[in-house]
Amino acid sequence: MPMLQTTVENGIAVVTIDLPGEPVNKLSTAAGPEFTETLGRLRDDPAVRAVVLISGKPENFIAGADIEEFTRLRTAAEAEALSKHGQDMMNSVAAFPKPIVAAIHGACLGGGLELALACHYRVASDHPKTQLGLPEIQLGILPGAGGCQRLPRLVGARAALDMILAGKTERAAKAYRIGIVDELVPQAILRRVALEAADRVARERPRRRPRGGLTGALLDRNPLGRRLVYRGARAAVLKKTGGHYPAPLAALEVVREGLERGLEAGLALERRRFGELAVTDVSRQLVQIFFATTALKKDDGVPAGTAEPRAVERVGVIGSGFMGSGIAGTAVSQAEVEVRLKDADLERVGRGLAAAAGILDGRLKRRRITKYEHARLTALLSGSADFRGFATSDLVIEAVFEDLAVKRQVVAEVEGLGEASPIFATNTSTIPIGRIAEGARHPERILGMHFFSPVDRMPLLEVIPTAATSPETIATAVKFGRRMGKTVIVVADRPGFWVNRILSPYMNEAGLLLSEGVPIDAIDRTMTRFGFPVGPIALLDEVGLDVAAKAGGVMYEAFGERLRPAPTLAAVLADGRQGRKNGRGFYRYEKGKKTGVDPAVYRLLGVSPGTAVSPHTIEQRLVYLMLNEAAMAVGERVVRTPRDGDIGAIFGIGFPPFRGGPLRMIDALGAAKVVEILRSLENAFGSRFAPARSLAEMAERGGRFYER
């Protein structure tokens, strides 16, 4: 079946792009010949004066290049050839003797936007689904079909770098404002306006006024100004990536080459850099993460066909503290469901509702929602000091105090609301879900939903079924977590679940390093250089020392000596330091801003900070413990697949994405090598480094977590 359908109306050819059998349009090399053939025919057809490109899909123009195709590339030369192929196609569009107008509704991303940019005129619908962007950087590559050339030429260096270097996607209104599209119209008249534009452009090529006024003239349209822009962009990229990601720097170089040396030179460097980047480990890992998250979006947490998730429109949240209000606010803002918040007294409910509404206020302030959406979403919130209004909930999430008896009490109260009681999710990080569900009348409706704090910003959710949880309950929780904007992994009801399990030895070791006199900032800096967004000590401050100590105790109780908490944490906590939340921790805070290490902590610990331990050793001790614990937990089937484990580590604790996650990192190093290093660490520092049995076995048989 062909991808392109052409009709001719009054001398204007309308080419409808509709990839057969797919929900979205994608560009692949296979589409090349058909494009060439169609264009050739239209060029030679004297009855055609102009062309309109429009999508046959309801919700997208072209969503990008086919990424599957991309993973089959073996060498840089192959990748460069792919880029060249794309560039040639776009060049033939740009050089087409008759004007081509792109009529854009829905996602217009990557190669799709590059195609639109090669057209001579762009009309977009003002629908919120119409999003334009070049997200290639997020996959460790760069726009390789002329996007690094045509976008800066159209909108100027600053706006183009803004989009390309961050891989940002913009709504149609913004795209219109910065000049990517020439006309913004309601979807209902998109086709008509595109036809009219084609007719007009066939008579007279459009002239575009340069954008940005005086600043634009000084910075975008002036070589000296552009040098400033490049320098600023480079500094910003380095600050953001820590030098771990080559693609943004390469894209910056390519944009610069094109603007300073001309289109040909720019295209040549663009395809060369594309080729190089495409086969880097960084890009491979980022692509795998993309596939993993895409797969998770379709994964209901139970084998396909086992259960239909329940529709969730009314949610009860019990406990209006930091977690409860965060869950409430995120559920309202992302899933747009009714949320009723309950706590023991109305004052607490009021504070929780205010905090939940604060999440919406923030989105209004950042212009992510309009004031009308804000009013509608805020009205989804209500609160109560009793259970009235909970019986008709589809889902109840409790976030009360971490105490088994209290949580069981809540289960009993919710079950008492009636026979058709809602699905009950408990948000705990330390108590086994099975214990909470003991004695429940409907254990099949109970599971864990472990959110991370702050709920509105942390992208991961762990869903924890017990042996008794029904597939319907699991599927409902997973799907609702996804509606809340979370990446959801289903994990086993083992202490610490997945994320806290692999975090636990890492945090303990950081405490031990500290008690050996390694400076706080040396530990944290080593790990941010490794690629974590924050170091372990700073993370303790963020999580809260009290929370971390409680979790550490639970892990020690469950797993014994191997996960014995370092004495440092208790000593610092005993000084009344809880971390950021009370403004006192390992770091100092002024008005909520971290101002630096608090040297008083060293006195508390009776150590004088010095750097006897090398960064290499710091990194090994911390990272290998985490790798080992991850391997052990996989052996215990804490996660369903290595994929879930790696995604959990990346989204739950910020494990460096370019390393692909702890399990991919083990695969990259080789299990044997990891075991060897663990053994040497064990000799030097003690039995907590003893390789996990499953890892040792894997090393022996030369196994891997992922098939090659």
Binding site: E338, R340, L346, A354, R376, A385, T392
Partner: protein, 428 residues
């Protein structure tokens, strides 16, 4: 007279209101629409009802905001409802909330709706302030002017007095008489003493305070989560007031010979109330046990130039006749207290053989027994958000009828324009 139910019986399933607050206090910055939405939303949750079950929303409001003229539609556009529920707002002056209940009951009786959310709202903190006629005209002219010069020229005629804003007064458009003046006149013409008025006010405060303390009143109130505080009670109720304290207040409308004071009149109030009505069989199907049913109602009007607030003297006997019952069948009575003088003028008429003769009745309508009347206090203490009061009273009466296991209850409301409203509720 044998009683037959006209159409299906409408059940009162539940009712909720916001706290009632003196205007300019806790709801100073809250638009009326937000109060109405709060009451409606909370009612929905307390009734454990899905928004999709509601067929129609009716709300009363006496002084609507120009920015939100159909407050009922904004209520039915709450995200808890599908966007497809029709809604209208009505104005039966101070009986608006009760009229919304009556209209809802009618729609149910006729079979046009199974579930109606009826209510009322008023914010006198959120009233439109108008420009003077001359200044408004200048603004209109300026907006039509074609040049800057012409635009400025329009304002050349501007005088300082044109900028004095016009706020709506609570006066009769047909007579210019304010409601307070009317009740003052009624006190004099009907011979209502200052002390009798103050006793009504005292009873109102004492009973409202007791009902707040024992939780009967707060059970009907949806807590309001304000910026800095949670409001759970009405702020006009004075538990500590006394006849002496009331006697010290100076008359407001006739300083020399008057008897109507701020103490024996209802205050300007902000608040909203909502009532959930269902067809009897629908309530049963959804598993609700109705509090009471609407048995009958009547609305009358008198010449506003006569005694403005005497409407109930006509409406109550009509509603009783339509219900097919006599005064003696009533177990509970709720009289809206706009002014104590108005309450007493009406009760006096009901008890009067002369009045009965005027109505062509063989015997007086009935004598009010204050041990069965306004048992949770009335509008003098609780406050009187014009559009909301009727819905508040319906809820309170229905709840109290259940508590006291009473078969029939009566509501009496006087309204601006000389209107009177009465409704009979029945149980089982």
């Amino acid at each position: 007279m044998p009683f037959t139910t006209p159409g299906r019986r409408a059940a009162i399933v539940a009712g909720v209101r916001t706290p009632f607050a003196k205007s300019g206090t806790v709801f100073r910055n809250v638009p009326a629409v937000d109060l109405a939405r709060h009451a409606a939303k909370e009612l929905l949750y307390r009734a454990e009802l899905s928004g999709a079950e509601v067929d129609e929303v009716v709300f009363g409001q006496v002084v609507p905001s120009v920015l939100c003229p159909n407050v009922a539609r904004e209520v039915s556009l709450l995200p808890q409802f599908p966007r497809t529920i029709p809604a209208y707002s009505l104005n039966r002056a101070c009986a608006s909330g009760a009229q919304a209940v009556a209209n809802g009951a009618d729609q149910i009786a006729f079979g046009n709706a199974d579930v109606v959310l009826a209510g009322g709202v008023e914010s006198l903190s959120d009233i439109p302030i108008l420009h003077s006629r001359r200044f408004s005209q200048m603004l209109v002219d300026a907006s039509r002017a074609r040049s800057l010069g012409a635009r400025l020229g329009v304002f050349a005629k501007l005088r300082p007095r044109d900028l004095v804003p016009v706020s709506p007064a609570i006066a009769e458009p047909s007579t210019g008489e304010s409601m307070g003046q009317s009740s003052e006149k009624m006190a004099k013409e009907n011979g209502i003493s200052r002390e009798a008025q103050d006793r009504i006010a005292l009873l109102s405060h004492q009973r409202a305070a007791a009902a707040t303390a024992d939780g009967r009143m707060t059970a009907e109130i949806a807590p309001w989560f304000g910026r800095d505080e949670v409001v759970t009670t009405d702020n006009g109720i004075r538990a500590d007031t006394s006849l002496e304290a009331l006697a010290k207040l100076r008359p407001v409308f006739d300083r020399r010979h008057g008897s109507v004071t701020a103490g024996n009149a209802s205050p300007l109030t902000d608040g909203a109330a909502a009532v959930l009505l269902m067809a009897e069989e629908k309530a049963r199907a959804l598993g609700h046990r109705p509090l009471a049913y609407v048995r009958s109602y009547a609305v009358t009007a008198v010449d506003p130039g006569w005694q403005l607030l005497m409407g109930p003297a006509y409406a109550v006997p009509q509603a009783l006749d339509r219900a097919g019952i006599a005064w003696g069948d009533l177990g509970l009575v709720e009289i809206h207290e706009a002014f104590a003088a108005q309450v007493l003028s009406n009760t006096q008429a009901w008890a009067s053989p002369d009045w009965a003769a005027k109505l062509g009745r063989a015997a007086p309508v009935g004598v009010v027994d204050w041990d069965k009347t306004n048992l949770l206090g009335g509008s003098i203490a609780i406050g009187h958000p014009f559009g909301a009061t009727g819905a508040r009273i319906v809820t309170t009466l229905a709840n109290e009828m259940v508590r006291r296991d009473v078969q029939f209850g009566l509501i009496s409301i006087c309204a601006q324009g000389g209107m009177g409203f009465a409704m009979v509720l029945e149980r089982a």
